[in-house]
């Protein structure tokens, strides 16, 4: 926009109006109505302000509304989901006792029931077989008397001397 009147343009002012036009043109608008220093300060401040885009103003509310609608939809779908059709499960072919037996047989050795050590089991079984046999001995000095009675003692307590006699009798004499 230029400030100089464009006299070459075809839009001429008629002669009878040129006088009043010149008189009015001699008037000058007031120049003291704006606080120039303050305006320059505010303009400098405004030039460094971050301009918020119109779309950014609606981005968060729009995303919030979208997520809320999505959550509501999922909730409705979750509530209205149909119940699964009943399926005919096969009845167990084995009884619970059989199943427990199978489990016990196939249980690994490290899963054996605890409470008694392997060595104890070994000695107890060996002792039991010994007592169930011909060599039942009582912890007594009268072994012969006990043996003649022929009553196997299942719960004998063997002392060291008894063990010695038992071994001596077991070894056939040369």
């Amino acid at each position: 926009m230029n400030h100089e009147p464009d006299e070459q343009q075809p839009w001429q002012t008629p002669a009878e109006l040129q006088a009043i036009e010149l008189q009015l043109r001699s008037l000058e608008p007031r120049t003291d109505r704006l606080d120039r220093e303050r305006l320059i300060f505010l303009a400098g401040k405004a030039s460094v302000e971050v301009v918020e885009l119109p779309t950014a103003r609606w981005a968060w509310p729009a995303s919030l509304a979208a997520m809320t609608a999505l959550a509501a939809t999922l909730l409705v779908m979750l509530i209205n989901v149909p119940a699964p059709a009943p399926t005919n499960l096969p009845s167990p072919e084995k009884s619970f006792a059989e199943i427990r037996q199978d489990l016990a047989e196939h249980r690994p050795s490290h899963q054996k029931p605890r409470g008694i050590s392997t060595a104890t089991i070994f000695h107890a079984e060996e002792l039991e077989s010994l007592l169930n046999g011909k060599h039942a001995v009582v912890a007594s000095n009268d072994i012969q008397a006990l043996s003649s009675e022929g009553s196997p003692l299942r719960h004998a307590i063997l002392t060291s001397s008894s063990w010695g006699k038992l071994i001596d009798e077991s070894i056939p004499a040369n």
Binding site: M1, N2, H3, E4, P5, D6, Q9, W11, T13, P14, E16, L17, A19, I20, E21, L22, Q23, L24, R25, S26, L27, E28, P29, R30, T31, R33, L34, R36, L39, I40, L42, A43, G44, A46, S47, V48, E49, V51
Partner: protein, 168 residues
């Protein structure tokens, strides 16, 4: 704001601030606020408009019209407008016409004619630029300008018959 912007703003204020305030005063009683807000909006614009002056006149026009509508709902607008109407121009003895009388005559014109006269005479806009700003054709802008001048001449001859001979 860098040096280029500062120089641009300084030149803008030197050349257009007074005429912008006068232009905004055609509608509202607080033209300084309108022009200041328009300049601040211009500085916030990214990127800057291609024709900053034309952009500024358009923003001032829109904001002044909005301000006049808001002020029209207030009861004290008339007092405010009347208190400001005598301060459009600088009063000097060199003026060929009395500034206060000129303002009184200008206020009698319809806003369309007055706008064309203010933009042509004190803003230095061409009729093409006035037409673009007001959204009318160039011939319409020119016709309004001439009609305004004719009305002023008529008012002037009625109010100041002694000076009528000087204008002939």
């Amino acid at each position: 704001m860098d040096d280029v912007d500062a120089k641009f703003l300084s030149r803008l204020l030197d050349q257009h601030s007074a005429s912008l305030v006068l232009y905004a005063q055609q509608w509202c009683g607080s033209p300084e606020d309108v022009v200041q807000e328009a300049i601040l909006r211009l500085m916030r614009q990214q990127p800057q408009p291609e024709n900053a002056v034309a952009w500024l006149y358009r923003v001032v026009r829109n904001q002044a019209i909005d301000a006049s509508r808001a002020a029209g709902r207030r009861t004290h607008y008339e007092q405010l407008a009347s208190s400001n109407r005598r301060s459009w121009f600088t009063s000097t003895v060199e003026n060929a016409i009395d500034a206060t009388a000129a303002v009184e005559m200008l206020e009698l014109l319809p806003i369309e004619q007055r706008e064309a006269i203010v933009l042509r005479m004190w803003s230095g806009l061409s009729f093409e630029e006035i037409a673009e700003l007001t959204g009318k054709s160039t011939s319409t802008a020119h016709r309004r300008y001439l009609a305004g001048l004719a009305a002023l001449r008529k008012h002037w001859s009625t109010a100041c018959p002694n000076q009528e001979s000087q204008t002939e």
